[in-house]
């Protein structure tokens, strides 16, 4: 099946042959994979998808992979959970959690994008992959490079959480810690990518890489029984995930797999790094970059490449956006853990906190269905909770000591 038409500039529409390139030479607009929906229509059906593997690759026909999947065979098809305890707590009828904190193998949705990018790097014959990362991408690129027997160079801001540094180093990449913000790391990588012939997943492989995020959206719709929810709340850093979930929903419509689309897409960001939500609140398509200062380091991109498209996604779908303070982020993490037994990282705390505010302000009506995108695992960012949590009872190993402690506890809470 000839399903791909090379690449196409998202801004001026110029065509390019399929290659490891990411910007239009004429207008600098981002290049996107161009699918032949006429060929895909009727071939990709609810049944053909259901017959696929229990992973993101059940949507392989809608991803830019032409040969066999090279790495990450088990990525995706993560649980979509009816979060009734959380809904009760927030006074809502229907909340769902799309739980990518258990995405295999590195516990964030980044495994989806990286599985596509590394497979594509192999298709193009590269022997080295690289990335600039706020943490999760680093873990995932290092892991998939190891699996694919490729060399990897990983660039991170030097102040990244220890957990994310260790969970990268364990795969034995070349890890380069840069003294600077993520945006500075990114600029450096763009210059490095120009000089060395590597597959930079988020630079020259961006058109392929970013398509992987669509699978998060496809799964939500399939798992809801091929229905679109009223609202999806998405954590934003570069702004790609929210844009691609929206694209996924529209593709399903184009292919006739769903009838109408009425979903409103909402952006969630930290107050200390929220340029996309600021655009939405100010209703302007001009992005003003910021210098990040937030505990949500995985979302700390002050100059998001897809900020413009993320803004347009919220706008076009009728959604909105909300900022969360560091304190609200921690409360969000604790709320999800306490009500649903799901331990998410700071990015998930941002999503929960932003959703709560949007509900309380009436932007998201309490009787409409809501999906929260929980995109990373809490064990990656334990530092953020260090000062907040402590054992309640510390005792000697004797039953009488425990009896006394329990009596104390009960008298405190009664």
């Amino acid at each position: 099946m000839e399903k791909l038409n090379g690449l196409r500039c998202r801004e001026c529409g110029r065509h390019y042959a399929a290659a490891p390139i990411h910007v239009c030479e004429f207008c600098f607009g981002p290049l996107e994979v161009d699918y032949r929906y006429d060929v895909l229509k009727g071939v990709v059906t609810r049944e053909s998808i259901a017959a696929g593997p229990p992973s993101m690759w059940r949507y392989k026909d809608l991803l830019p992979i032409e040969g066999d999947v090279a790495v990450g065979h088990h990525v995706g098809f993560t649980p979509l959970i009816r979060a009734q305890n959380l809904a009760d707590e927030l006074g809502c009828r229907e909340i769902w959690v799309k739980n990518d904190s258990v995405c295999h193998p590195t516990w964030s949705f980044k495994d989806r994008v990286v599985a596509v990018a590394v497979t594509k790097a192999r298709e193009f014959g590269f022997d080295t992959v690289a990335c600039a990362s706020t943490g999760n991408l680093a873990n995932s690129v290092a892991a998939h490079a190891a699996e694919g027997r490729l060399k990897s160079y990983i660039f991170i801001p030097a102040d990244l959480e220890q957990g994310k540094v260790l969970a990268t180093l364990v795969y034995n990449p070349t890890l380069v810690a840069v003294h600077g913000t993520y945006d500075e790391v990114n600029r450096l990588c763009s210059e490095i990518a120009d000089k060395y012939r590597w597959a930079f997943v988020n630079v020259n492989f961006r058109p392929y890489y970013s398509e992987g995020s669509k699978s998060h959206g496809f799964e939500i719709i399939e798992q809801l029984g091929w229905k679109t929810p009223g609202h999806i709340v998405v954590p934003c850093a570069g702004g790609s995930l929210i844009t691609k979930i929206w694209k996924a929903i529209k593709e399903l419509k184009t292919l006739g797999l769903i009838d109408g689309v009425s979903t409103k897409m909402h952006a969630a960001q930290a107050l200390g790094c929220g340029p996309i939500v600021t655009m939405i609140k100010n209703d302007t398509d001009v992005l003003v970059p910021v210098r990040p200062s937030t505990i949500a380091k995985s979302l700390a991109i002050g100059n998001p490449a897809d900020g413009y498209y993320a803004y347009k996604t919220a706008k076009e779908s009728g959604g909105f956006g909300e900022h969360a303070t560091d304190e609200e982020i921690v409360e969000g993490m604790l709320l999800l853990a306490r009500t649903e037994g799901i331990f998410t990282e700071t990015a998930g705390g941002v999503t929960v906190a932003a959703a709560k505010k949007l509900i309380e302000r009436g932007v998201i009506p309490r009787d409409e269905s809501i999906v929260l995108c929980i995109t990373g695992n809490g064990l990656k960012t334990p530092d953020s909770l260090q000062d907040r949590l402590d054992a309640h009872v510390k005792i000697k190993p004797s039953l009488s000591a425990f009896d006394r402690a329990l009596a104390d506890l009960k008298s405190q809470t009664s």
Binding site: E11, L137, D183, R187, S190, V203
Partner: protein, 91 residues
Amino acid sequence: MPVLVRIPTPLRPLTKGSAEIQAKGETVDSLIGDLERQYPGLKDRLLDEAGELRRFINIYVNQEDIRFLQAKKTALKDGDEVSIVPAIAGG
């Protein structure tokens, strides 16, 4: 005011393949004027019809995004380094 300008791959066809070129200008704006004199066509690639920097291009003076400085009015001095960088994704 000779400054070093780093040219990204998509613009190199216009600079006969050069990745780094020397140019002059009191400000980023006048630097773009000099780039256009040396390499006709470059300006159109950097600025839109309204003369504003295109949405998906970032310009850095000595590693600093000019939007944190005085944008196109940012002053330049001898030996400064200017990078032209297309927006890239991340995470």
